[in-house]
Subunit: 401 residues, 2 copies
């Protein structure tokens, strides 16, 4: 397991090039990520724990399998993951909860969360609840209407299902369709959160609408779907919701939610930004065809290569800022041996920018081809996940008090 340590350290140095330096401001809230994120500072700011080598090893041991995104520090922070594993080792179940704001088509940055969650489901045999927050995207102006959010809820559900969830252990639901089952529970949560707290955590202002101010209660609710402990895989920007959850859960008779936080998949256009659905050139959508993927990566991917071939051969590429390398490292090249070969070839100048881009293009297109094949099959399964599957049918007949 020595390699795990080594890679973890590397990835932290490489992906956090402001860490310790304090260069520049950055903002991370559930609705806005700007500036170059200092992930180590976020741990301090949010009061979460770093995932250390020991915890990684223990997770892999309990899972019976390694996961390269964890090994490489893409999942780098947590809350109570150690307690989840303590309980699991003692034979206690936990459940997984994650979600998606259905504001439009999903891109690679969105879907990797679901692939990781389905991995956890398979390895730990856990129920998964997936919230489609059509209310939130409407209230936050990220969707022009509830009708549009409804359309994207369906489309996004297909992509989510394609990430490999178990139709009998997974419940996917739209907030506007499930509120009738959970309104009482949402009220109990909402009553515990006052405006001052919500304002401090989420940055609400006078012009925030009162639906949006209520919404944090809605996002907390699924963490209380079972009396077992909830583990939430999510990008670090969602942590404020779980801070609220942890402040109030026990007073309502539920365990505090645990979380495992990822960094953001960087934008195609440069690692200082998060991939953004609202800036099409920064993202690769799950529906982009092979040609589009090629064009986007060739044209927009920020390169750590040198200005000329001669210079590149002499000085080598900078993998710290090279987006194709970062994407391969974070998600698209699971083999440690191969990714280290690429690192070595590229940083020594043996591999050119066009070559590393070509590798990424092949990997992304290979991934998307398989994803879309599974997505095409998912249409017939939507009802299982949302209504008729074992977990879904139980949830549809449950009214939470």
């Amino acid at each position: 397991m020595g390699r795990v340590t080594k890679l973890l350290v590397k990835s932290e140095v490489k992906m956090d090039n402001t860490s310790g330096g304090g260069q520049g401001d950055f903002t991370v809230t559930p609705w806005k990520v700007t500036g170059q994120v200092d992930y180590q500072k976020l741990i301090k700011k949010f009061g979460t724990q770093p995932i250390d080598t020991k915890l990684v090893e223990r997770l892999f041991r309990d899972a019976g399998e390694e996961n390269h995104a964890v090994r490489r520090g893409v999942y780098y922070s947590h809350r109570d993951l150690d307690i989840v594993l303590n309980e699991y080792e003692q034979g206690k179940k936990f459940f997984l909860y994650t979600g998606r704001g259905p504001s439009g088509p999903m891109h690679l940055g969105h879907i990797i969360q679901f692939y990781f969650t389905s991995w956890l489901q398979r390895r730990f045999n856990a129920n998964v609840y997936i919230q489609l927050t059509d209310d939130e995207v409407f209230l936050s102006e990220r969707s022009p209407s509830l009708e549009t959010a409804g359309k994207w809820s369906y489309e996004n559900a297909l992509d989510i299902i394609a990430a490999g969830f178990d139709p009998d252990r997974t419940f996917i639901f739209r907030d506007t369709e499930y509120m009738g089952n959970v309104y009482k529970l949402a009220l109990k949560v909402a009553k515990k959160i006052n405006f001052s707290t919500a304002k401090a955590i989420f940055g609400f202002k006078g012009d925030s609408n009162i639906g949006f101010i209520f919404y944090p209660a809605v996002q907390v609710v699924p963490s209380l779907f079972e009396r077992n402990r909830c583990l939430i895989p999510c990008a670090i920007d969602q942590d404020p919701f779980w801070r609220v959850q942890r402040d109030i859960a026990e007073s309502l008779g539920f365990p505090k939610a645990a979380a495992i936080h990822s960094k953001f998949l960087p934008a195609l256009t440069g690692i200082t930004a998060k991939m953004s659905a609202s800036a099409a050139e920064t993202a690769i959508y799950l529906g982009d065809d092979e040609k589009m993927v090629r064009t986007k990566i060739m044209k927009n991917a920020f390169s750590g290569g040198q200005a000329t071939v001669e210079e590149h051969r002499r000085l080598g590429g900078n993998t710290d800022v090279d987006v194709p390398f970062q994407w391969l490292y974070m998600f698209f090249e699971p083999s440690d041996k191969r990714v280290e070969q690429i690192r070595s070839d590229y940083s020594s100048g043996r591999m050119l920018s066009g070559e590393i881009k070509s590798i990424l293009i092949d990997r992304v297109n290979g991934f998307l081809k398989e994803h879309r094949e599974r997505r095409a099959k998912a249409e017939k399964d939507v009802d299982k996940f949302m209504k008729t599957g074992k977990l879904a049918s139980r949830m549809m007949s449950t009214i939470y008090e």
Copy 2:
């Protein structure tokens, strides 16, 4: 109709003994009424319209019947009642909407609103929607739990049904049971109301919980249950909700709600206070037995009589502050002839305080006896009003978009 004018003027003078004088402060919000209410000032403050003689005559003409609470100025203010009648005269329907916060047993001050609403239903053949705000009483700490609010929802529904509603044209619903049908509509409403506005109108503060801040959207929703215009009979303290409704309804494609506002039935203990469910001595509950009613009125009813019988015979009683007289006038003595006889006898000293109290005791006990008989029969009808009646079954299968 000359009598209408005369009585209206009288009641205004008599019931508003601060009007024009500006003696003392008072506060009227949906959750708090303190001080001696100056009803004419409230019209200015809230921006509503006084109900003048012409409008009263027109309402009675369209209704085909007079109503003594309107004639005597208990219903004294409105918004767009004239437009409702314009439309009605042109053959357009309107619907009625009112509600109840099920925080405990209902008293006389609560039920008279429902008797008036059922009168309107009968006279105008209108659908009625009655919202039991179990969410609101829980969020505002007026009920210790949703379970308790649920119990009182059922008990209050029996009293409401006893006020004489049509089981096929009336839908009574609990917010927590009906939210699944209206959440999308509530979101559309909530998105139109920002925190600054809600704070200014409802007085929310930093320690207000986020459920309570969302709640005004929930109370607005039933005013949008039909595309027809909504008329809301209510006590004047509820007007802030309709001000919000009127600001946003048209932008959502609905007519502005109309309202007809009542004064408060004064507390037994004195006309400067509103009857309060939280101060048992100020109220007569619908469940109080004959002996209890007698004791409460004899013991607690604020009297406008003189200190001794001799003095009373000489100076007469003051009907302006005498609660037994005010209750008879506002609700319990529908005959103008008889109420004027009582006024004359009491203010001249011919009638003693004990005598006017006895008249009120008889009337209240007579009313309560009949009310309770109807209430006992209501148990078998609850389902019709909440689920199976013509309007209720349609509403239960309607999901508002």
